[in-house]
Each structure stands twice: as structure tokens, then as C-alpha cells.
Symmetry: C2
């Protein structure tokens, strides 16, 4: 049991490390290709490492690209951390009452686009070990302009990856809508996607599913960008995007569990707030 | 006892209503005077009413001025609400275990200045009645540029109003520094000010103190504005202000009790988020 758990940590950790590099590579290529076509200066990802106060509790590395021609700001974060939950936080986490130690590894990505016609995308997959162990993750999409065809495209692809892995797209879609509800506004953050957590039954199958969601995230995001990157936008559309980003900030700071997990486990501020947009407006 | 409580509610409610109008008048005059000097178009406060779902639970009115020559955004909010605390929220509030009903009235102001050399100011005073009753409030100042003389001026005046009312400036200053700590960054929101709560001993004296803090807020803010309104600023200083505003947003959404109180008691979203800056940046 102990040995298999070590192997599971190793394999998931390696997958997340690979996926991070792959996402960065693909996004960088998009940025280079588009900037060349537009004869613009090329923006590059910068890589940063961080460690927890006690380095043996882990840390992570994140890539961030700013002021690009495709991306206003995109962060690709991979971290592996361990430690003890704080007294007042452990009751939120399954299996943390018995045993307060945790180990968690994951990849998370948030991309805020320059073109307000291209939606912001968010993706995360993670493997968590307390006295229990489980996979969680998902992806969701936040346009600032309505586009029903785009919504269909996103959900068609997410349904496919769920079906291929015998997971319930319907449940995960619902979970996503519930999770990304901006309660005080009574509206969802965007057009949803999928969200899943506590997948603990069949490790092999769940690991496969989590890998497939990662690949789908890359495919879907590339499609979203390629469809609209040449479209022109108005000043008003950019303003609407900034107001939408304001609501994104509200969600992330008021409700997001990932943000709370990070702040409560001594994570790196810049890596945690990588998800915040580069700028936002409130009406 | 019941009758005196009704009178206390009446008197505080009237004071808050008066103070709101007074602040709006003073700030509007500043805006008009400065806009005329600069030969610019004059921006005016707009007044909005809101009611809780069940109007007998109260509501409020807020004034908001945007895109002014002095103020990028300033909101002056007065609300009087009553109702029952939600099950999961009442444990945060003194006297709400026995009896879940509450009545609360107050004024709050947040001003985000156009000129990054003039600090943002925040002020609030309130009277809350559960099975207990108390006054609370304070004011604090958030510059984006260091200015020791300005800091001294603010604190000198706040010390004076505390001393005049036999209140401990030292304790209230400390309370303010602790309250406006942006925990995850290990830095305070600004240069502090005073913060006090649960003042329940001598109603007459506390009411007088709360009124004096309101008047001081107007005086101090006018001084801060008049000292610096003609100073020129650089693009970089404006950018620094926007980054500072990002941290302001973090504090308000992650930690601020007023925001949580509003969201947990069915307050008006626009009135609650009046405190958010018009725009913000994250590095």
C-alpha cells in the first residue's frame, strides 16, 4: 500500500511536470506565430521557482507570459507541496481529521486573452493525498461576449472526453456550474465546463481521465484562439472584458477553493494570484 | 429600556443620514471648485436607492461620483437594515447567539482619487443592535506613494479626536493596523488610521465620539486633497496606484468584515462593492 502510493505520487508528479511544459510550449508557439503574422514584438514566458518556508515542504514553478499579442496574461503553474493542515482549515478537507498531513500536486492554468472576443480559460488537475487520496480538476471558459456556437464547441469536446472515460459529463457540468456560481450576483463566472473532485475509486482509470482532460484543455483552447484571433474589437468590447474580469476577481477572492487552499497552506502569493487578470474594472 | 433603544436607533439613524448628505455636499464642492479651476467638465454625484428583498428589512441610499477631476470614484453609502442572521454567520456577531435578529445603521465612504499622489480614504461608522448594542467604525488612509508628513498629519488629527473623547488613540491605531493587514502579503493596506468596535458602555459619550470621527473624516480628507490636488504625476505613478488598488481589492474581498456582513445579510451588491476601486492591476 505504502509503496503503491509512492509510485502514484511519482507518476502523477511526472505527468503534471510534462503537461506544464507541453502547455507552455503550445501557448508559446501560438504567441510566436501570431506575433510574426502581425509583425509585432514577440512576448515570451518567464519561468519562476518558489519554495515553501521549509523547502522540504515543497514548492513549484510557474510560467507567466504578459502583454502578448494573444495573451494579456497567462500563467501555467505546477506545484507539489506537503505539510500539515492548520487547525482551522482541516475540517474542509476529506481525510484530514484523522491525519493532518497532506501531499498535493497539480497543474493549473489561467489565460486572459488580449482579444475580448476570445474567452478566458481556466484549467486545473490535481492529485491529493491525506489519509485518503483522490484526483480532482476541471476546466471552464469565461467569454465576455455571448457566442452560442463557441459554447457548444466547448461542451461538445468536454462531453467527449468524459464519455471516452466513462465519466458523467452531465454531473461534472452541473458541478462546474454550481462551483463557479458568483453567489452574490446570482450568475455563473462564465459558460461553465466540467468540474470533478474526490475521484478515488479506480486509480488507473482516473489517472487516464485526468491526463485526457489535460490534452483536451490544450486542444479546446487552441481552437478557441484560432477561431477568433484575427477578429477586430471595439473599445466598448474591451471595456466589457475588463468588467467581466472584475467579476472573475470577485469569484477568485471570495469563493475559490484553490485560492483558499494556497493561502492556507503557505503557498506562493504570485503563483496563487497568477489566476487574477492583469487588470479589471468595476462599474 | 425598549423605548430608549428606539430613541437611540432614531438618533443614530438621523445622524448618519445627515452625515451622508454633508459628506456628499463637501466632496461635490471640492469637485466643482477644482473642475472649474482646471476648466474641465464637472462630474456630479448620482443618488441610488436600494431595498432588501423584503422592503421592511430596510435598505439604503448611496451616492456615487465617477470620473471626476478629484475623484476617480467615490461612494458615500448610508443604510439601515434589519433581519435575522443566517445560521452559519451568527457565531461571528456578539449577542447573536441568543437572539438572531439584528438592526444596523451606518455610513461608509471610500474615495479613490484620480491623482495618484493623493491617498485613497475609507471611513465608516455604525450602530448595531442585536441582543447587545454597540458603536463601531474608523477611518484609514491608503497612499500609493510614501509621504511621512502626510502620515503624521493624518495620525495627529485622529489622535486629537480620540483624546477629545477620552478614547485610546493608541489602541484604536493598533486595532486598525491589525484589521487592515493583508495577511497573505504581510503588509498593511495603507498607513492605517483608527478602528474601533463594540463600544457599548456609555451611549451618549460613544455617540458623541462617533459624530466627531465623522467630522474629522471630512476635515482630514479635505486637507489631504487640498495639499496635493495641483501636483502633476507620471504614468508610472498612476500604474503604481493601480497595483496598490489591486491589493485593496484583495483585502476587501478576502478579509473585510463589512463586505462579508453585506453579502451575508442580503445587502445591495453595488452598494457593497462601492468600496472597490474603479480599476486595478496585478503585476
Amino acid at each position: 500500500m505504502k509503496i503503491s502510493q509512492e509510485i502514484e505520487k511519482k507518476l502523477t508528479g511526472q505527468w503534471f511536470a510534462f503537461l506544464q511544459e507541453k502547455i507552455v510550449e503550445e501557448f508559446q508557439n501560438l504567441e510566436i506565430e501570431f506575433s510574426k503574422k502581425k509583425k509585432n514584438k514577440i512576448s515570451y514566458f518567464k519561468k519562476k521557482f518558489w519554495e515553501k518556508k521549509d523547502p522540504k515542504d515543497g514548492g513549484g514553478q510557474y510560467y507567466i507570459l504578459r502583454n502578448g499579442q494573444i495573451f494579456d496574461k497567462v500563467g501555467v503553474n505546477h506545484s507539489t507541496v506537503e505539510g500539515m493542515f492548520q487547525q482551522n482549515y482541516k475540517s474542509n478537507i476529506p481525510g484530514a481529521k484523522k491525519n493532518q498531513t497532506y501531499w498535493a500536486s497539480g497543474v493549473s492554468v489561467v489565460a486572459h486573452m488580449k482579444n475580448p472576443k476570445i474567452p478566458a480559460v481556466h484549467f486545473n488537475t490535481r492529485f491529493v493525498v491525506t489519509s485518503k487520496k483522490w484526483f480532482g480538476g476541471g476546466m471552464d471558459v469565461t467569454p465576455s461576449l455571448k457566442d452560442l456556437n463557441e459554447k457548444k464547441l466547448v461542451h461538445k469536446n468536454l462531453k467527449l472526453v468524459c464519455n471516452n472515460n466513462k465519466k458523467s459529463y452531465k454531473n461534472y457540468k452541473k458541478w462546474c456550474d454550481n462551483y463557479f456560481l458568483i453567489k452574490h450576483r446570482g450568475e455563473t463566472r462564465g459558460i461553465g465546463g466540467i468540474f470533478f473532485d474526490y475521484l478515488n475509486k479506480d486509480w488507473e482509470k482516473n489517472f487516464k481521465f485526468v491526463r485526457d482532460v489535460g490534452i483536451s484543455f490544450i486542444d479546446i483552447t487552441k481552437m478557441l484562439i484560432q477561431k477568433k484571433r484575427f477578429l477586430k474589437w471595439t473599445k466598448k468590447q474591451k471595456q466589457n472584458q475588463l468588467v467581466k474580469r472584475g467579476k472573475y476577481v470577485e469569484f477568485n477572492l471570495l469563493y475559490d477553493r484553490g485560492t483558499k487552499f494556497g493561502l492556507n497552506t503557505g503557498g506562493n502569493i504570485d503563483a496563487i494570484f497568477m489566476s487574477l487578470p492583469p487588470d479589471a474594472k468595476w462599474k
